[in-house]
Subunit: 162 residues, 2 copies
Amino acid sequence: MLYFEDFAVGQRFAAGPRRVEAAEIVAFAGQFDPQPFHLDDAAAKHSAFGGLAASGWHTAAMTMRLIVDSGFRPAGGIFGFGGELLWLKPVRPGDELRIDSEVLELRESRSRPDQGLLKARVTTYNQHGETVQTFTPTLLVERRPASRTGELERVKGIEPSS
Amino acid sequence: MLYFEDFAVGQRFAAGPRRVEAAEIVAFAGQFDPQPFHLDDAAAKHSAFGGLAASGWHTAAMTMRLIVDSGFRPAGGIFGFGGELLWLKPVRPGDELRIDSEVLELRESRSRPDQGLLKARVTTYNQHGETVQTFTPTLLVERRPASRTGELERVKGIEPSS
């Protein structure tokens, strides 16, 4: 578990590969994005995708699973405000996805002395090394309890005892 | 089915409500975002969420389903490059989500005379009228075949016959 103080700009966390099966693409789409190019290969051939492709939301969800399974383990969990989500190439049956997350920015929260803000860029690649998705979220990360105590003492004007 | 030419800035498309069940929250999280605050109400009570909350990716996927089920039916399907995705409030068991999509911007594609770009803002609300998510995607939308013919004729320097 990593507290806000344990992160540094430039740190990277990788995970994968994770193979994407046609049946998963169809199952996800049936529930959340039932459009012909996500449901049926024959119909998809006549679409802009030219063949079965995963819903972008499925790619995003698989990416999240890879993030959770990576060494990126902020104290308090992985959650935040969202950010820019871009889909650059379709994800196809048989693709093997991997991710690379990079810490871009760290700043203390003005309103919450117990939390810091961590901006990251999560890039999702296929087996050819092509970028299929980028996501640039801002996350909330717990500060180390010692730092929080220090913060409270500063706020109260009390010197920490040595 | 709506071609690029059928859309206008300011057009809106609504859908919902769609009730969110605790079992769905847990099932989605088990597959894509297995963190305690998305999996178990007791564990979630001790987290920043203070109780079971849907994965943001689940909120996004449910929003996509509402978009597909709304009157927003661009020719060629709903797909694009992504955009800014922001989570503003947690989604809880029993919440009833609805969406409101608004067309923000329309422009012709420079590289593809058969497609146009449509920027929209999709706002997801809960039953209290609170915004839980906003998504501001840029979509690719097919142009009406007649316009495409016109485009080709312009490109070739041929006057359309009247």
